[in-house]
């Protein structure tokens, strides 16, 4: 029986990777995404333009403008001469934010009276705008600090696990989870649907293989795809992007296998509900897009409303991202990782049993 299972797995792998198109589509998208996304998916503010409307012209405002221009994030600082121009600059998005100094600014700074600098940001690009405004505020506050006569209290900030807040160190471990999702789900979900459409599923059923064996035979290639693609991206993260690897390789592999199992379970469940490839594909898609959004990749889970946090709690991507990030950045150990591994195994168990019972019902 074991022999038959091996043969089935080999047949499945051949179906997926047998053609040139198939091989290309398993490898090329992974390479492409690993190369493009870490550079595209950045919430850092860089190469931003800021517009300055300086009604003052005194020493204090000029010094602050000079410092803003030297800030790495703002590569382009240009001057405006009226409130209408400020409106226009934000309207057409030629500047991410506009800084406005009132006419008596430098004078008030000299006499130590309270005064205000106004920053206007483009709400259409609200995240970048806020981060840009943070940078500008830090520059202004730094200037304020230096003016203060006797500074006695300081606040030092240290970023653990990622000292320079390098966004790629957040993106790449998350990509290990996200990119492998597509491959694994497509292989498992579409395989059954395609067999239905081509009529070869009936041939499988006539063979001595029981539905349980058929399911294992379809799940294993999915797990293999997940592990291989995930390892490739992890290697690229370590060697090409320099993300530090502080945990254990064995734990990473274990995490990928458990994740592959969970995904294969979901894929087989979707395929047990579909009768055509289009349905399977769209089902995969309908699962994948909310799963990526609710995984903590784009936004931390604690920022989401409670209902959506529950969805995030049953989402395999959430746990995979936590495991991979933990292994890369936080030196995650097996004991702590168990908290993330058992949900994956539970999801795998539930989805695989559901898929199996639906298969059996189809056959009967």
């Amino acid at each position: 029986m074991f022999n038959r299972l091996i043969r089935l797995i080999i047949k499945e792998l051949q179906a997926v990777m047998g053609t040139r198109q198939g091989k290309l589509l398993l490898i090329m998208p992974v390479i492409l995404q690993t190369v493009v996304f870490p550079f595209a998916a950045t919430l850092d503010v860089e190469n931003a333009s800021i517009a300055v409307y300086n009604e003052d012209g005194g020493a204090a405002s000029k010094e602050i403008i000079h410092r803003l221009a030297k800030t790495a994030a703002f590569t382009h600082v240009f001057a405006l001469h009226s409130a209408a121009e400020m409106r226009a600059a934000i309207d057409v998005q030629s500047a991410l934010l506009a800084v406005h100094f009132p006419p008596d600014f430098s004078q008030r700074v000299l006499t130590k009276s309270p005064t205000t600098v106004q920053i206007v940001l483009d709400g259409r690009r609200s995240n970048s705008g806020q981060i840009g405004a943070n940078y500008a505020t830090q520059v202004i506050n730094g200037y304020t600090q230096e003016l203060g006569a006797r500074l006695s209290s300081t606040l030092t900030v240290r970023n653990l696990f990622n000292p320079n807040l390098n966004f790629k160190w957040h993106v790449l471990p998350s990509l290990v989870a996200i990119i492998t999702t597509v491959g694994c789900l497509m292989v498992t979900a579409l395989s059954v649907a395609r067999e239905h459409e081509e009529g070869t599923f009936d041939q499988l059923l006539v063979s001595p293989l029981t539905p349980a064996y058929i399911m294992v035979g379809k799940a294993v290639p999915g797990v293999l795809v997940a592990v291989l693609q995930g390892s490739f991206i992890a290697m690229a993260a370590y060697w090409a992007y320099g993300v530090p690897f502080t945990g254990s390789l064995a734990l990473l592999m274990l995490g990928l296998v458990c994740y592959g199992l969970a995904l294969s379970g979901v894929g087989l469940f979707i395929s047990s509900l579909s009768s055509t490839q289009q349905q399977a594909f769209l089902g995969v898609f309908c699962f994948m897009v909310p799963a990526v959004i609710l995984s903590g990749y784009v936004t931390p889970i604690e920022n989401m409303p409670t209902v959506l946090q529950w969805f995030a709690a049953v989402n395999p991507l959430t746990y995979c991202i936590l495991i991979v990030k933990g292994v890369f950045l936080k030196g995650l150990g097996f004991a702590d990782a168990w908290a993330y591994l058992w949900p994956l195994l539970l999801i795998a168990l539930c989805t695989l049993s559901l898929a199996l019972s639906l298969f059996r019902r189809h056959i009967a």
Partner: protein, 375 residues
């Protein structure tokens, strides 16, 4: 130039329409998925940090330290967990239960009173979530500054020239992420319908053998293509209208532009998306492969490279040039402007021109690739 028979075209469109309606997954993707996406994107993706979980370790019992703790606890943006030891809070940080730890060392108030050396407060953030860490740092700094202000007003700290910064947001005063994400998510929805659904359409006919039957009829290339484009165009516009209604009436996203401009730009974008999807379908002839290719070539660029979530200006120059050939970029920018700002011609007209060029390219390429032969 092959002639176009209206009669045949209508018959083919009817056939496509039947096929779409009969398959529940098309309805799912055209109407249910967009609404689900709008809600998920609108309510889940909240990059504004308004509820930051912090741990506080106050090793000092002096007045200044207590005042600082009160400032933090009173601040509505924070959920403070008072910790009893560094190890305990560090464990919480590693597990992600808090996103930052504020440490007030034991000699803090004493150093402050002496006024001779710097009395240092320490903030440790969770760098594995860089965006949140930035927010934590800037919010804690804000709280620290307001603590300093109140201390100096009580003459506990020396006066400093108080330059305050007031930040105002235009076009989205409450900085509601939803207003910013809803227009962009419409762009994603249109890409799904335009490119993903059509990528399966032609390939399916080849796989099932119905293409051969179709080619045996007098149907011309133009009719074949149009019969694939028109029904999915109608579906795309219907989905767009549904998203617009949900966004404006259910989610209270403002729409300040003109509907005419919205339909015009949507038509141009759908032209690009449909062209791309049909091209992949025609070239690859396998549903499995066309689906994957459509995901990589249409959907992922729409999510990642359109400026919808990630700022194009922050990307390296090479990628910025790459985004110029991605239709979703122009569409997302037009949507943002139409929803939040208004019908600003200087933004919309260049976008429309690029979209027209791209759609001519993709549709033309598909037309060239479509042949009336079997090979």
């Amino acid at each position: 130039m092959s002639s176009l028979s209206r009669h045949r075209l209508l018959a083919l469109c009817r056939k496509e329409a039947f096929q779409i309606v009969r398959d529940p997954s098309s309805i799912l993707v055209a109407f249910i998925l967009p609404v689900v996406l709008l809600f998920v994107l609108g309510y889940a993706v909240n990059m504004d940090a308004d509820h930051l979980r912090l741990g506080l370790l106050r090793e000092d019992s002096g007045l200044a330290a207590q005042r600082f703790e009160q400032t933090l606890v009173a601040n509505k943006s924070f959920a403070i967990t008072i910790g009893s030891s560094r190890a305990e809070l560090m464990a919480k940080l590693t597990r992600g239960e808090v996103r930052g730890i504020v440490i007030v060392p034991a000699d803090f108030s004493a150093k402050l009173a002496r006024g001779q050396e710097y009395a240092a407060l320490q903030l440790l953030t969770d760098g594995s979530e860089p965006n949140t860490a930035q927010f934590v740092a800037s919010y804690v700094q804000g709280a620290w500054e307001s603590w300093q202000q109140s201390m100096s007003q009580d003459r506990v700290l020396p006066q400093q020239a108080p330059i305050s910064v007031s930040v105002r947001t235009w076009f989205n005063p409450a900085s509601v992420s939803r207003n910013f994400l809803a227009p962009g998510s419409i762009a994603v929805v249109m890409t799904i319908i335009g490119a993903l659904l059509t990528s399966l359409v032609v390939a399916r006919e080849w796989e099932r053998g119905t293409m051969e039957a179709l080619l045996a009829t007098p149907v011309t290339r133009a009719e074949l293509l149009l019969s694939k484009i028109l029904p999915y165009y109608v579906l795309g516009i219907a989905a767009m209208v549904l998203c617009l209604l949900v966004a404006v009436f259910v989610m209270n996203v403002p729409f300040r532009g003109s509907l005419l401009a919205l339909f015009g730009i949507s038509t141009l974008f759908l032209g690009c998306a449909l062209g791309l999807g049909l091209f992949l379908s025609t070239a690859l002839r396998s549903q499995f492969n066309a689906a994957q290719a459509a995901l990589v070539a249409a959907f992922l660029p729409a999510m990642m490279l359109s400026g919808f979530v990630f700022e194009i200006a922050s990307m390296p120059t090479v990628l910025q040039w790459l985004t110029r050939i991605i239709p979703a970029r122009y569409f997302a920018s037009s949507m943002q402007t139409l929803f939040q700002a208004g019908t600003i011609a200087s933004v919309l007209i260049p976008n429309a021109v690029f979209l027209a060029l791209l759609s001519a390219f993709w549709l033309g390429l598909t037309a060239k690739k479509t042949r009336r032969t079997l090979d």
